[in-house]
């Protein structure tokens, strides 16, 4: 709506002390907790720390063991499948729903509330409910069978091959509403004149969306991406509540590996090695992007 403002704030002449004081909590959080915690974790990943951190260095032992562990490999694969699909489906479904909602429809409020409410519920609750709906004994499978399709089988949570898709169904249910909201907000920010111009030029609607509107919604996509991606890396509660990593170890995820080995196995070193691998992956993907996006000169 409003055109973006050019850069050149009075940041050089007015180096105001107050602003720096105001940023102290953020700087402390960034340095002490996120950076400090990361460095600390990395250092201790080279040790043989058990229940308590201990500086007995063992080189790369923890990493060798980590990459030899079948459970870790499965965790990584699951995260990759879940991550890619969840990213694609959230964006696609979220955008389509938002585009539909933007057609001056009736009951917009009702639909929006329906799509958004799952986000108000925790992953623990989400996991529990979907565990139940997908339970072959009372859930979807038994209902479909009771209407006559006795051979119908739908038990994703008890089938190692497809369990991660069962988790995905629940994850999407919880998260797409927010994505839809973000997208809707983005669409509402597109100037009416763009639409008029596109209509005058006779550009079909889908092309307008794909080539004009979506590129204009870049900032929304970035915020959405940060929200979805950070949620994906952190996926833990959902798996714990819905499958506990089962059947067997078929739906394990990296965050759960970290937690289980840190606290249940009382092998902090192993847990930290796994955390470090996660952190490195995140860093490789996020840091260059974050630097381009937020660092350097502000876009104008």
């Amino acid at each position: 709506m409003r055109s973006t403002v050019p850069a050149g704030r009075p940041n050089r002449l007015f180096r105001n002390l107050n602003s720096k004081i105001a940023l102290i909590p953020m700087i402390l959080t960034a340095l002490v907790v996120f950076l400090g915690g990361t460095v600390w974790t990395v250092v201790y990943s080279f040790t043989r720390s058990g229940l308590l951190p201990r500086l007995t260095f063992v080189g790369l032992d923890q990493y060798e063991r980590l990459w030899a562990a079948p459970r870790w490999i499965i965790s990584i694969q699951n995260l990759a499948i879940y991550g890619v699909l969840s990213l694609i489906f959230s964006l696609v479904i979220g955008f389509i729903l938002a585009a539909l909602m933007d057609q001056k429809i009736r009951f917009e409020n009702t639909f929006r509330t329906i799509f958004l409410y799952p986000f108000a519920l925790s992953f623990i609750v989400t996991g529990l409910v979907w565990q139940w709906i997908l339970n072959p004994e009372f859930g979807v499978q038994s209902v479909v069978r009771s209407i006559g399709f006795t051979n119908f089988t739908f038990d994703p949570l008890y089938n190692s091959q497809i369990v991660i898709y069962g988790v995905l169904i629940a994850g999407l249910w919880q998260g797409t509403g927010l994505v839809m909201c973000l997208m809707l907000a983005g669409l509402r920010g597109i100037d009416e004149d763009i639409w008029k111009a596109a209509r005058v030029d006779g550009i079909p609607m889908w092309r307008t969306y794909l080539f004009i509107v979506i590129p204009m919604m870049r900032p929304v996509f970035i915020t959405t991406l940060v929200l979805i991606a950070s949620g994906i890396v952190k996926v833990y509660d959902l798996v714990v509540a819905q499958t506990s990593g089962g059947p067997g170890i078929a739906s394990e995820v990296p965050a759960k590996y970290v937690y289980d080995y840190m606290f249940q196995a009382q092998n902090l070193g192993q847990g930290f090695a796994a955390s470090t691998m996660m952190l490195i992956t995140v860093a490789i993907i996020v840091i260059p992007w974050a630097y381009l996006e937020f660092g350097g000169k502000k876009r104008g």
Partner: protein, 411 residues
């Protein structure tokens, strides 16, 4: 030192009536939340409250795996509870070594724990560098096969007398629409089942060679291969259980939906709570009816070091309440576990508990895997066996190879 301490205790006991009015609150964390467990904790709390203090219950549901991280964080974070449950063994060792836990040697000496607690291994696992750090509360053994008499009747076969008969009865159960073996999805259950097969099918020597001596030739040898074959049988019989918690699996046996379950003696509490009678409604086979050996793991209370002297005194009171004969009887009857002392009257015990007591009296006890292996090794075993029992493609041979690697790397 001892004299000074004694004087302090004397002084304290003289002042006790006066101090009685201000009962000390002691927060106790544990993960006993199933029906039978909760009933047992109530007995413990009642006895402790009767000593003039107040039990603040800090139950954390979801088994030890959920609860232990929280307990450990709080102890290391400097906000410890008054007392906490752990399985004795190696779980709390490092906390003790870091000086975060309280030394109970004085209480133990005063009450002569060394004499009354049996088997001796129990107190030994509470002892680090000659000092005693925990009060054992019960003895738990894993090596039990629980059977639903109704299920076998329905299938038209006799209630099995041992594991081999049970496996043979599997097809008949399946034909009658009964789940032969109930096995919950939590990883520790698969792990416990395997260790039970090891001890009950393989016998004492094999168990000792594998878990205590960690003898490479044995672990990769044919005897252990046989155990993996048996685990493969168990895997086939347990397909389709589809529950997570151990007590849900036990409930399948109670309701006759499943033929049997291999689970520790804590399952007893659930049968009892459901009003079932040992012998008529359900049967139990210690050592799976083959090798009647029990491992004596169990629960114990540890006491973090606290600054407040009133709380410290309450900790002492709790420690002696736990070992007290009356509490031992009341608690263990409810929980279905065995008492830690031989000099109590368990006339009220049912058939299954009596079988357990008889084995204990014979001295047919072994150290549990929780004490022989570190939590780290146990976790890796859990990963292996939960994968094995859930998969259809992993062969017993492949599992044995991975098992050998894990045990070889154990410290």
């Amino acid at each position: 030192m001892r004299l000074q301490y004694l004087a302090a205790v004397l002084a304290a006991s003289v002042m006790l009536p006066a101090a009685h009015a201000g009962a000390t609150d002691l927060e106790v964390t544990h993960w006993w939340t199933s029906g039978g467990e909760a009933a047992a904790v109530k007995e413990l709390a009642k006895a402790f409250d009767a000593s003039g203090n107040k039990w603040i219950d800090g139950a954390i549901a979801g088994s030890g795996g959920t609860a232990r991280p929280i307990m450990i964080s709080r102890i290391t974070g400097g906000d410890p509870m008054g007392a906490t449950q752990f399985n004795h063994g190696r779980q709390a060792q490092e906390l003790v070594q870091a000086g975060l836990m309280r030394d109970l040697t004085d209480v133990a000496k005063r009450e002569n724990w060394e004499k009354i607690i049996r088997p001796a291994g129990l107190l030994k696992s509470c002892t680090i560098d000659g000092k005693i750090y925990c009060a054992p509360v019960n003895i738990h053994s894993w090596q039990w096969l629980w059977l639903s008499n109704a299920a076998f009747k329905k299938a038209g076969v006799d209630v099995p007398k041992n594991w081999n008969e049970f496996v043979a009865a599997g097809p008949a159960l399946q034909k009658a629409g009964i789940q032969p073996l109930a096995l919950g999805g939590q990883p520790w259950q698969a792990n416990g089942l395997f260790d039970t097969l090891m001890i009950s099918l393989g016998g004492k020597d094999l168990y000792t060679k594998v878990y205590q001596d960690k003898d490479k030739a044995t672990i990769t040898g044919p005897e252990v291969a046989k155990i993996f074959k048996a685990a493969d049988d168990a895997r086939k019989l347990s397909k389709g259980t589809n529950v997570q918690d151990w007590n849900q699996a036990t409930n399948m046996v109670i309701t006759g939906k499943a033929g049997g379950q291999v689970m520790g003696d804590w399952a007893q509490g659930e049968f009892q709570l459901a009003g079932q009678k040992a012998g008529t409604d359900y049967s139990c086979l210690p050592g799976l009816g083959l090798n009647e050996y029990l491992t004596t793991g169990g629960d114990a209370f540890y006491f973090p070091l606290l600054k407040d002297p009133a709380k410290a005194k309450a900790q002492e009171a709790l420690a002696s309440v736990i070992v007290d004969p009356k509490t031992q009887v009341a608690f263990n009857l409810k929980k279905g576990s065995l008492p830690i002392r031989g000099d109590v009257d368990l006339g009220a015990a049912n058939d299954c508990m009596k079988k357990g007591l008889a084995i204990l009296d014979k001295g047919s006890v072994l150290t549990s895997t929780d004490q022989l292996l570190s939590a780290d090794t146990q976790k890796q075993k859990e990963d292996l066996f939960s994968e094995f029992f859930a998969s259809t493609s992993m062969t017993p041979e492949a599992a044995q190879a991975r098992f050998a690697k894990i045990v070889a790397a154990a410290d």
